[in-house]
């Protein structure tokens, strides 16, 4: 009876089914809740995590742009090179690998082995970057186990003209950063902008897909076109090498400029370096003396003072000055001329390079106008050329000048200039008095396939910076005294038979650091010149710092011959017709 009551009770199985239902419901709720969390609340985070695991951002390097000269010759370019790496954790026999690689790459075996052992747990170790093709071929021929080594493609910067124009071009280091010259000044433009690509990887890290939606193409570097001519640059460097050999100076530089446009056709400096092999370079070889070294210009400064004095009406072309037979007491000191002179006209003062004559012109101008003259011709400030590291020279404000300055400034002392400043000012006289900014960069163009599209030239090509003196004054200076300085004056060594050369020599004493006074043994010998005198096409400057061979180091002796040879070659190269007719007429 009782058991029947128990088994036949309507409530007997209900608690079990209810329990089961409750359990199932609980499980269902938990699962649903988890589902809601995964799909809704935590979905963003989880999707992000999955994405990070699956996707990989690969950088696509931008190819650095080229640097070419005005005729399209390649000065700097970029090629692909292979960089060798190893996987130390997979190397079974480090000693053997180190031995084979050291032999193949001509490297030190022990240091290579030490590096592998030090990074034993690493999965990547550079062995050598940017190998030559021949080195890469030798490494491949070793037939090393494939899982322990590999090549990565990197860009290698090459300079096909060697050390030609190295100071102007600069160099790009192993990390692709430009140092010095155009490589530094236009680093961002030349370097371009890297692109990126999103790759999808499987669990083993193998790429299975490329996500095009997020691709960013690299912007390859632009090509920079210089105003330099590689041929003229070569002429300049050869003349400099001859000067270095003959006179053994500390440094020397040569600059060639087109006065009408301000284009720099050549800029060379010695000592120099090869950007393809920038090791074991003398410390002073990195300096571009054409823009970074300053010196007292000496007699080469005189034409600017004379031009300004004429322009301001303080002197006339027919005025004559007593040059006191080589000794003139001015204030508390006595000025001397190298060669005593009597009465000289303006032209004669420049031709004979009389310091006394210049001091008297300086007295007529006064300190204020002397300062204005220097400023007008661009001294005391940078020329604005595109190279980094340019010096502004040194021009003290007139309130710190004294009566000595009135005599010193006109003969090119108490002022320091760079060779480029000097030649730029000289070019202004050659260009009817218009001072131009010297330009090294003509334009920059997009890399292929867009290289036929000449995009906006963003180089700041200022046409005329300022007007220094009137065209009449400038022409009188150039065709008169400066022409005569070469024809019959201190620059006779620069005379050419086929072109009318004008110019000015400079022999500036250097300060002896031991005594603080001017040295009679150490000089800066310089010569600035141009041709043809009736229509200047090219101007050249050669500055030689402290020639040490021989006893006399006049600018007319040291710098003038090299400058005139360089000038002639440039004129021929630029197809400037000879001055045969005018020269014969002038000699009659």
């Amino acid at each position: 009876m009782t058991s029947n009551r128990l088994t036949t009770s309507p409530y007997a199985g209900k608690w079990r089914s209810r329990l089961t239902i409750c359990l199932l419901t609980a499980v269902w709720i938990v699962l649903s809740g988890r589902l809601v969390f995964l799909q809704w609340i935590g979905s963003a985070q989880l999707a992000e995590k999955a994405n990070r695991q699956r996707t990989y951002l690969q950088t696509i390097s931008a190819r650095p742009g080229d640097i070419i000269d005005r005729d399209g010759r390649l000065l700097a370019t970029t090629v692909n090179a292979r960089s060798l790496y190893v996987v130390p954790e997979r190397i079974a026999d480090p000693e053997q690998i180190a031995t084979e690689l050291a032999e193949a790459l001509n490297a030190d075996r022990q240091s290579l082995l030490d590096r592998i052992l030090t990074h034993r747990s690493k999965r990547f170790l550079w062995i050598k970057r940017r190998l030559e093709e021949s080195e890469a071929a030798v490494v491949r021929a070793l037939n090393l186990p494939p899982q322990v080594w590999g090549f990565r493609k990197e860009y290698l910067r090459r300079y096909p003209q060697g050390s030609l124009a190295s100071h102007v071009i600069g160099l790009r280091d192993i990390d692709g950063v430009g140092h010095g010259g155009i490589e530094e000044r236009y680093d961002e433009l030349i370097r371009g902008r890297d692109g990126r690509r999103v790759l999808v990887r499987d669990a083993r890290g193998r790429v299975i897909d490329v996500n095009d939606d997020h691709d960013e193409l690299p912007h390859h570097g632009r090509t920079v076109v210089l105003t330099l001519s590689a041929v003229i640059q070569l002429y300049a460097e050869r003349e400099l090498d001859a000067v270095m050999t003959q006179w053994q100076p500390r440094t020397a530089c040569a600059i060639v400029l087109e006065p009408r446009t301000g284009d720099v056709l050549a800029m060379a400096s010695r000592p120099t370096f090869d950007p393809n092999q920038p090791v074991n370079v003398a410390h002073n070889a990195w300096t571009n003396t054409a823009i970074a070294s300053m010196y007292e210009p000496g007699s080469t400064f005189k034409p600017f003072i004379v031009a300004w004095a004429l322009e301001t009406g303080r002197i006339r072309p027919t005025d004559r000055f007593d040059c006191e037979q080589g000794a003139y007491k001015m204030g508390g000191r006595v000025l001397h001329d190298d060669h005593p002179q009597g009465w000289l006209d303006i032209s004669g003062i420049l031709v004979k390079s009389s310091n006394i004559g210049m001091a008297k012109i300086g007295e007529r101008l006064g300190n204020e106008e002397l300062f204005n003259a220097a400023i007008a011709f661009g001294f005391g400030r940078k020329t604005g050329c595109e190279l980094p590291g340019e010096s502004a020279g040194s021009l003290r404000p007139p309130d710190s000048w004294n009566s000595y300055s009135t005599g010193s400034i006109p003969m090119g002392q108490e002022i320091a200039v760079t060779p480029l400043q000097l030649l730029t000012a000289f070019a202004a006289l050659s260009n009817n008095g218009r001072l131009m900014t010297p330009q090294l960069v003509s334009k920059h163009i997009a890399p292929p396939p867009f290289d036929d599209v000449e995009l906006t030239n963003t180089s700041s090509r200022e046409t005329v910076v300022s007007r220094t003196v009137s065209p009449a004054t400038a022409r009188w200076i150039v065709e008169g005294p400066l022409r005569d300085a070469v024809r019959v004056g201190t620059g006779q060594a620069a005379e050419l038979s086929d072109y009318l050369v004008f110019g000015k020599t400079g022999t500036a004493q250097k300060i002896d650091p031991a005594t603080g006074t001017y040295s009679s043994e150490h000089h800066v010998s310089s010569f600035v010149c141009g041709a043809p005198a009736n229509n200047p096409s090219v101007v050249v400057a050669i500055v030689v710092d402290d020639p040490s061979v021989g006893r006399t180091h006049y600018g007319g002796q040291v710098a003038a011959p090299a400058a005139s040879r360089l000038l002639r070659k440039v004129l021929i190269h630029q197809r400037v017709p000879a001055d045969g007719e005018p020269l014969r007429a002038a000699q009659r």
Partner: protein, 108 residues
Amino acid sequence: MFFRFGSALVLIVLISLAGVAVEKRNLELRRRVIHQHFQTDVLRDVHARLRLETEQLGAPVRMLDSIESGELAVRQPEQTVDTSPRRVPLLEWRRAIPTNQPTAAPSQ
């Protein structure tokens, strides 16, 4: 009923096949584009290397001595006074001074 059901099924299958064909074509074109990009990169690199080699071989520093000594023939432009840009700068070297008179073309 069976006919309509079958027709629907066939239609779905046909659409799927068309979709697969389009996907395949898409992937093939993508592969070709990627391959062309790769070839462009390779050609660009080859071009850079050849240009580098050409410039090194034709560098003024290599040729100047030969030209000045007369060992290398120099092409004389017909018009000696010409300010137009050089078309082939590598060959246009001059040794003689230009004059205002046009020179005769060199004999071959």
